[in-house]
Symmetry: C2
């Protein structure tokens, strides 16, 4: 029982529930239909069924989740996974080739000896390792007959299956508290001449001959790209989830939270003038609506990336590697762009909730902290854009050479990247023809602006590298920016084509059709997504020459217009369509029913510190200052 009791009073009028009802009555499309389009009916039915089960199961009760310390949250877990993957070392992350742990082949016993030669070679950040795992896949430099063959994977036991103690020669532990992910047991591990049998080497692609120690090479080094592409493509989908969760919380709360009265357009509820909901302020719209749009943008690109991944896998199985370079380049750049965007957007949503975004009960701090590693893991977001860049510059150089050969025809354009590069080379001085704000709603103009800008940046970098002979290192900033430009174009393009129904579908999948009302509403978001990024950071569009100064203010007007007239009435509908159950958001501010203040105060009553009226330590720490002589009396004032 809590010592804290909130007064049995309602929030002042109007009530959150009524405000959200008013919002929902204005939505121009069926939220249910849009959810079905996004997820499919089957998924939503499964979600509902599953939710019914876990909400009534004490083991999944989240009501005390925000209060648990690290040790307690850890013990709340149930370990079923006993393996872990140990690649990263304390001194080596992104550069796998630089790892220092060794696995030396011992022909006499047909074993490998795992060893940690330096402190920097300690395995670090290994998920599940610290305390739970009893086996590990360890990346180590394979050494045989004195020759170093670079990193290879070995599957080795690390703890006793009997009593879970560490095996002799292995040391492991937890790496300590982190920014987020505190329920994940990130561990460290090192080896002291630890012997494992020959079978431990994962030898699908390469191996060591028993006895002689002869090294057998992998058949095709490109095969290992597959998993990396899959993971990076999946992260685009996770970015959508992060964006959508944060947008749901901040949008619903902004429809309820009221602040100041907008003198030009006072808000009425019945006959009363009420403070203006913050969602009516253009600044709040400019902060939140592009995030809603970005979540939908990621939906379409994530679908397309998964389609391309499976198509590529199928192609590669029959020896066709033609898609691999494009898919690998796009997945790297898109991983970087969408996770950077999602992390920034979650923080923007947190701040857009004002002071309450700082409270754990908003759900946003934990979302932010748990999302944060995405910008670093699976390839640091700055570093991996070099892979996208290399592909773009090669494509550009090849295209220029083909066009110069005199044998070029448009039929040689095999993918959208070549298409926009070719359009640019046809006319590098192309100018945007728009003369009114309304013309910027034309998707062809939007695509031309993005294509021209990306191609211009690529052309400049290739000039810098090939003609000015600048070093790769001196151009890393431009290379990063070019990758962003290329990937923003992909997002804009897939959004436009996706709404039109012009995207290819994965084999055997019949797409749920989009209702005309939802199609119109999503087109508003697609417009905003395309124009907002230009308006907010017009620099590269201007320097590419396609966009001129006058266009930037036209776009500003087009954006304000579509936000105020078209998106504002649908804002709550758009986030409702993401269909996140309250259980999943775990947020007082973002509840579907709008009972923000009731939920928020109820959560505070469960704070452990509130379980006693007088805090522990009062006698020791406070009393000596406030009542040093043991005075009886009510207060300082009463003693005056």
């Amino acid at each position: 029982m809590s010592a804290l009791r909130f007064p049995d009073l309602p929030p002042s009028e109007p009530q959150g529930a009524d405000l959200l009802a008013q919002e929902r009555s204005r939505t121009t499309f069926s939220v249910h239909d849009l959810s079905n389009y996004l997820y499919g009916e089957e998924y939503l039915e499964r979600q509902e069924k599953f939710l019914g089960l876990i909400e009534n199961e004490p083991a999944f009760d989240k009501s005390n989740r925000y209060f648990l310390g690290r040790t307690e949250r850890f013990a709340a877990l149930r370990y079923e996974v006993i393996g872990c993957y140990a690649q990263t070392e304390i001194g080596h992350g992104s550069n796998v080739q630089g790892i220092e742990t060794t696995a030396t082949y011992i022909p006499e016993t047909n074993e490998f000896e795992l060893h940690t030669p330096y402190l920097t070679a300690c395995k670090w950040w290994i998920g599940g390792l610290g305390k739970a795992a009893n086996h590990a896949v360890v990346m180590a430099r394979l050494i045989s007959n004195g020759k170093d063959y670079g990193p290879h994977a070995l599957c080795v036991p690390i703890r006793s299956m009997e009593d879970h103690t560490l095996l002799p020669g292995v040391m492991a532990g937890d790496i300590g508290p982190k920014f987020g992910y505190n329920t994940t047991d990130n561990g460290c591990m090192w080896f002291d001449h630890y012997r494992v049998p020959h079978i431990s080497l994962l030898a699908k692609y390469s191996s060591i001959k028993p006895g002689s120690g002869e090294y057998i090479k992998p058949p095709n080094s490109k095969l290992s790209y597959g998993t990396m592409v899959l993971i990076r493509a999946s992260l685009v989908g996770y970015a959508r989830i992060g964006l959508a969760k944060a947008a749901t919380i901040a949008t619903r709360y902004s429809a309820i939270r009221r602040q100041f009265v907008d003198k030009d357009q006072p808000k009425k509820m019945g006959k009363e003038t009420i403070e203006t909901p913050v969602l009516d302020y253009s600044m709040q719209q400019y902060r939140l609506f592009p995030i809603i749009a970005a979540a939908y943008a990621c939906h379409f690109t994530s679908k397309e990336m998964m389609r391309l991944y499976y198509l590529n896998i199928k192609n590669m199985a029959s020896g066709n590697f033609s898609l691999l370079a494009d898919v690998h380049a796009s997945s790297s750049g898109l991983k970087s762009l969408t996770t950077t965007m999602a992390a920034a957007s979650i923080e923007e949503c947190r701040r857009a909730c004002g002071g309450h975004g700082f409270s754990s009960f908003s759900g946003l701090p934990l979302l932010l902290q748990d999302y944060a590693p995405n910008v670093t893991w699976e390839g640091d977001n700055y570093m991996i854009t070099q892979q996208t860049g290399r592909y773009l510059f090669k494509s550009f150089r090849d295209l220029v050479a083909k066009r110069a050969s005199g044998k070029f025809s448009a039929s040689q354009i095999t993918n959208p990247t070549l298409a926009y590069l070719n359009t640019y080379l046809d006319n590098p001085d192309l100018k945007c023809p728009a003369t009114t704000p309304a013309q910027f709603h034309n998707p062809e103009i939007q695509l031309a602006a993005y294509g021209h800008r990306a191609a211009h940046m690529i052309a400049e970098i290739v000039h810098g590298l090939d003609v000015e002979k600048r070093s790769w290192n001196s151009m890393l900033v431009e290379i990063y920016n070019a990758s962003v430009a290329h990937c923003q174009l992909i997002l804009v393009q897939n959004f436009i084509l996706g709404i039109r129904g012009d995207m290819p579908q994965p084999e055997g999948i019949v797409a749920t059709p989009l209702s005309p009302a939802a199609k119109e509403a999503l087109t508003d978001l697609s417009d905003l997504f395309a124009l907002h990024q230009i308006h907010k950071q017009p620099g590269e569009f201007l320097t590419s020459g396609y966009i001129e100064a006058k266009h930037v203010s036209m776009m500003g007007k087009a954006i304000m217009d579509v936000m105020d007239k078209k998106i504002r009435p649908n804002a709550v509908g758009f986030v409702d369509a993401f269909a996140f159950p309250d259980y999943y958001l775990n947020s007082a501010l973002g509840r579907f029913d709008g009972k923000v203040y009731e939920a928020y105060t109820e959560m505070a009553t469960r704070e452990p510190i509130n379980q006693t009226e007088v805090i522990e330590g009062y006698e020791q720490y406070i009393k000596p200052f406030t009542n040093p002589k043991g005075l009886k009396g009510k207060s300082i004032q009463a003693r005056l």
Copy 2:
């Protein structure tokens, strides 16, 4: 005693200590002199003395700081402050005029009755209130004879001085866990017809006559701006500290952390080729060096804002309010700009440390979380820029009117804001004369670019409001951007003048002179600070017409040049000059001695989870899965 023992091995070569020694040997100025210039010798001596005391005092031991749960950290505190300031309510933050708590004057007993009429009126976020405070200054609507006089402050007892229990009519508690600040006791409180004596009303500026209940007005409403200006100006100084701490950690670590070999320019240590320290990559420089520069920029502007604050206070005391509007406008916009910049920069530094930036032991997660409220409190960073905007638009309109009156002379220009607006009005079509990258090192060109851009934006907004008759709400994005542009100019200007020694000094203060070598080095940072912001977001500079597309790539070259040739050798020196003791940074990555890996692993041994080899809960949760039949044996492999 920890169960975790790291191997007694050094990190692989080269050692962090040697790398930092190499960095320090390249510094072109005396770090000691620059520190003296920034802080004064007296401050640094005091810091050293104080540090000597607390480092040996167990009560201030930080070695377990990152492991404590909320409840424990709370009890580690010593309460000496017993008061708190209760303004914010759960439904009302920035809009103080909207608070709902009432203080009704009761003439019969000469008391005020404090009451919470709605759930939204509960006091919330009150620092120190939750459990510690026994008195509170409460902001409540003052009501007398049925009339509402708006928010006023009352000082009231809330807990018994005898046993610390809440007084009848008062309820209070803790508001629960937060993103950061978890050692601060943020509380909530509400009143049920709680009576306090007449003396409780803080009546310095306004009062209620006993008996009749007559309200006596405050003499001058402008006086209350003073505190707000002081707090906002102080936050510029805190922004400097946040920037400088984060930059210190990330810069030192980036000089030690090595990744890949830069093929164009391989790094040598003696005869050996080593992996390239990440600080040598141009992208890392582009991420970190502007943050070092921003910290120095905030130093000069913070000094100037404090000088103006005290000058204004002195002026106001003699009835001169001429400075108030300018100081209030600048302090609002600068609070918004510098805290936004510092929060983004701390996160950028955290990410620039790669995976280890996610570990609490880097010191960066806690710094980020504790800094986070700065963008919200003391005026939300988007909202308060309207105050800056209003002043700028008024100044512009007044100036245009004066110029049109025919009686205008340059002598009427009384402050830098009017100066740049006037220059713009003299020639709105001015073009940047630079034709080479080197010319962008000219501070006059930098200042002209910033001045022209800010004035152009202000002119466009005034046109939108006055001629196109757009509503204030529809222009909030432009208004925010104009405030940023104005304040970036202030930062650039104070940086340039500060290094030159051309800033006015506060009365009675003799400035420490800057050595010629330090002056030259700081000029590089000032160049970078001015040019980087244009290069990164050139949009508004381009649309203002002063900067053209060709200039942006020239600036890019000027920046790369100054970073690579001038700032890179001094990078560690610049952050050393901030003079943060290791105790204060509490970071394994940012240590002065460069022993990153030794400190990091040592911190991990203190993790409480590592105090036992086999985790609690093994028998219950893990064993049933891994060894369901109680098998004896070494591992899965051994059983194959």
